[in-house]
């Protein structure tokens, strides 16, 4: 299938299955921090750079050539996506 406006023409079951990202509950955060306070645990943070772009796609998805990056003389061609891109429904499930 071809993504025209990314994210707006994908069909569940064909172009994507699961689109959720891991999201921790606030209850869990507080519980763990309370436990950390009791047990004097070490706590550190990490922020993943552009997390949405990590996923290798199993599904076959194409997009039109973006404006300004069209190959001259081959404007009719579409691009097949190998990795997730912002706007894809499953992009959030990089994990």
């Amino acid at each position: 299938m071809v993504v025209r406006k990314p994210g707006f023409s994908q069909i569940e079951g064909i172009d994507f299955d699961q689109i959720f990202s891991p999201v921790v509950w606030y209850e869990s955060i507080r519980l763990l921090l309370a436990a950390a306070a009791l047990e004097e645990w070490h706590i550190e943070g990490l922020n993943v750079k552009s997390a949405f772009l990590y996923r290798q796609l199993d599904e076959e998805i194409y997009m039109e050539q973006p404006e300004g990056f069209k190959i001259h003389g081959q404007e009719w061609k579409v691009l097949r996506l190998c990795q997730a891109i912002y706007g894809l429904k499953q992009a959030a499930l990089a994990w």
């Binding site: 891991p22 306070a37 550190e44």
Partner: protein
Amino acid sequence: MCKIGFERSQSDAGIFIHKAKNGDIVVAMIYVDDSSFMSNNATLMKEKKKAFMGIWKCHDLGKLKEFLGITIGRSGCKIILDQKAYLTKVLDRFGMTNAIIANTPLPHWYTPVAHTGNPDPTLRTQYQAIIGSLLYLMLGTRPDIAFSVIKLSQFSANPSRERYEWAKYICHYLAGTKDYTMVFDGNTNKGLIVHSDSDWAADINFF
């Protein structure tokens, strides 16, 4: 996460746990692209962090100072949480920065009843915006407003102008309690204490 020896928690999809044979434990909390690692063993935690960073490129934030808009302060066994930055923004958005201070989130005699008039879409949007902001604070670090916020949120499909003013009343209370923080004090050695409420907070609307 499984590849680097973590197991997903059964009860929370955002929690991953690694248990070492000697009983050491590393817990990772993941919120989309934000993550936090905690452990009783600093070396083991560093090792797991490194493995994680081998798969995903990360900014190493070092000691955790902030997670999901919650500021995390620490002194030894004490962990102090606050959402002051967010609260300031909320009060500003609803024009309550210099509001007169209320001593309680709602007066004790106030019982909301369902609004029977036609819903006003503009008011509803405003009302839901204010309730949404209050809910976020409540869930994060302000359990003291939980009862009032939940009370008011029960009829948010059709709020009255009066109800909206009561939501702002909670902001009056927050304006006077901006500096409240949530403190987990490990020094008390009381462990985790759990409470439950079995009569739905005596709510006459839901009996």
